[in-house]
Amino acid sequence: MDARALTKRFGDILANDRVDLVINKGEIHALLGENGAGKSTLVKMFYGSLEPDGGEILWQGNRVKIDNPATARELGIGMVFQHFSLFEALTVVENIALALPNPGRMADLAKRIEAVSKDYGLPLTPTDVVADLPVGIRQRIEIVRCLLQEPRLIIMDEPTSVLTPQEADRLFLTLQRLAKEGCAVLYISHRLEEVKRICHHATILRHGQVVRECDPTKETPASLASMMVGADVAAVSASEKKANLGGVRLGLKNLSAPAATPFATALNKISLDLRAGEVVAIAGVAGNGQGELFDAISGERPVRSFMIEIDGTACGTKSITWRRRQNAAFVPEERLGHGAVPGMLLSQNVVLTRHATSDGLSWGGLVSLPKAVSIQERIKRDFDVRMSHDNPEARSLSGGNLQKFVVGRELDRKPGLLVVDQPTWGVDAGAAALIRQALIDLARSGSAVLAISQDLDEIFEIADRIAVISRGYLSEAEPAEKMTRERVGLLMAGGAETQGDVA
């Protein structure tokens, strides 16, 4: 595939500005860039979900117009989406049939799925309903769906963000085999280690333009990162000074909760002592109970009173506001909608989490908006939140900037206990470094920080102790320097469960 001067405009914003990209047969080609650099827009044009405003696409030497995903599939372009494009209520075979132009009889297709999936080491049961399957298997469905179309080019958008390291390794083997068979792979990832490991060539986008092309095997993750950001990324310093541990701020005692919905995870006897002055990170693959654990700790979902203690007071049934008054702060995973109200001004969003704390924002039912605005300005200054004009609506901020804002909003309170779910999810390298540093600094100043994350690089960067959550079981938190990636990976893949059962 050869793309020349592809341009896409959204209103006044140039999402892609004359992008040139050549992908060769049998090549695993990495597409790198910060959030909002235009990677997704670019691949959507390749897959026919978006139409370019300018430029042309050559496919095997011929000029083509891809105006529909069906056209792309006919040409032999397959795509594995970041947010899966599967239908939960349907079975595996039905999901795959939907993506094929001539699926034939369901029974025959089911046999083909079984054969192909086994052949590539990604076994699937065609009659399973997707809703019952874990994310790793769901991704297999997407990949097998691509394979059945006998593609010449597979586009993968952050495929490993939901996988354990072991599952990712298996995926890499499949990709390498595909490349050997002559299929081209366009690989989008934030994880530079992986890119270095499996990709032959890399194209780096910044602000919608191609800024560099390089051979990732000859680069280091740090040099790749600085090419993406356009500046050196400050390494996070965990300040050699060992954490001065204080008393237990947050205690979880046999925290258990049944699953609220069929697709949720039950929590099983989770115990953890979080002390002042330390950062404890909880690793795990998405959907293993992180959300449920966060909801229980923050008070969104009440549990039995004794199960959660903040500063020694049992508070499993207490409200979020009560917990915030105990100087605890919470940053949920989903920043838009859960962490901030999209249609409200940033200052109003400040009031939403801080109305009851000692900021004096509310008195006798009245809200002091000037105070909220000044807090908002302080957050903007301290956390480098970039906005087009003063005090905009939350939805107008880009993902990374909004994340800086919602994390900054709580950090600005200097909470004694901070619980944060996915602190840097979908955030570019520069903003991520800033947030991580802020978390460490908060802990060093004597607060307790609990970070739930799926990003192992992040966890090893910030954590003093690491625990792993798997299917609602939490492994014992162990000092970070004693943990290795392999061990965390094994715990993610179910080791935490058995350990939890023994404990």
Binding site: G48, N68, A72, S85, F87, E88, E94, L98, T261
Partner: protein
């Protein structure tokens, strides 16, 4: 006696069955059309008017279906193309239908109507008891059963049905795979309109062959409740429609026999049954989540 009761149950159940199976298809595609009542009553008045003016029942039925399709096209244009709120638009459609049908029907109040002829199926109709009940019916009753069978088969055995369910389950994914969400939904909405129109025609051409203002009397709402009651499964719609139809008939008989049950209580039974089903459903969510269209009532705007 029992035979006679069963016959009235069939007549009470048929309009519910037809309107509900149409709405089921609409909801399976992810659209919630609360305008069933309005589309039904427009079908009833147009069916009656055209049958009366032309003297042809078939033309009446055809006009009723067209009226339902026209109403649903208006709804589809508003909620699918202009992305209006589905609940508000559906309610408006009902209010519009009730008002507009009154206006059209003004001239037909008290005019004697035309009753659809029975179609006697030779052979089968001679079976004792069952024959007269099931095989001496008018065309629409036969159509109602054929419709349910066709919808059940299409939804679960054909590619069209698979695509329809996919669109209702996750419109974002369906769009990403290259299916035209808006077009598919529009087709489903039109089908729902046609069914509602037909159900209306049954009321004014078979159930009570005359035009009375507001003659649907809440049947459109019962049809909507039925869809939930059946947890979006076509064959269960038959069970629900006949159950609700039976309650309706029981209501009439109870009044006639001056039984001590308030008729208001009996009329509320279908809704109470629906609430009960909803409670039971939430107890066993695993099963329902697979059948409930996840995108029901959500607007879709393609990111182009």
């Amino acid at each position: 006696m029992f035979e006679a009761v069963l016959l009235t149950v069939i007549t009470a159940a048929t309009p519910l069955l037809i309107a509900a199976i149409g709405e089921l298809v609409v909801e399976r595609s992810g659209v919630l059309n609360l305008g069933v009542e309005g589309m039904m009553i427009m079908g009833a008045v147009m069916g009656f008017a055209v049958a009366n003016l032309t003297g042809s029942g078939a033309l009446g039925i055809f006009a009723a279906i067209l009226a339902g399709v026209a109403m649903s096209a208006l709804f589809g244009f508003l909620v699918l193309n202009l992305v209006a709120n589905q609940v508000a638009t559906g309610l408006a459609l009902t209010i519009l239908g009730i008002g507009f049908s009154g206006l059209i029907g003004e001239a037909f109040i008290g005019v004697p109507g035309l009753k659809l002829p029975q179609i006697v199926i030779p052979g089968l109709s001679d079976i004792p008891f069952f024959g007269p009940v099931f095989f001496r019916q008018d065309a629409i009753v036969y159509i109602s059963f054929a419709l349910v069978a066709a919808v059940a088969y299409t939804l679960f055995k054909t590619r069209v049905g698979l695509i329809l369910r996919a669109v209702g389950d996750n419109h974002g994914s369906a769009h990403a795979l290259g299916y035209s969400v808006i077009r598919i939904r529009f087709m489903a909405v039109l089908f729902g309109g046609a069914c509602s129109g037909l159900a209306g025609a049954y009321l004014s051409l078979a159930y009570t062959p005359q035009w009375v203002e507001n003659m649907t009397a809440g049947r459109g709402w019962i049809a909507l409740a039925l869809v939930v009651f059946s947890s979006w499964l076509p064959l269960r719609v038959i069970v629900g429609a006949y159950l609700f139809g039976a309650v309706n008939v029981l209501n009439l008989h109870a009044q006639a026999m001056e039984m001590d049950i308030p008729s208001q209580f009996l009329s509320s039974l279908p809704y109470l049954a629906t609430i009960l089903v909803l409670v039971l459903i939430s107890a066993n969510r695993r099963l329902t989540l697979v059948n409930t269209p996840a995108c029901l009532g959500k607007s879709f705007v393609p990111d182009r």
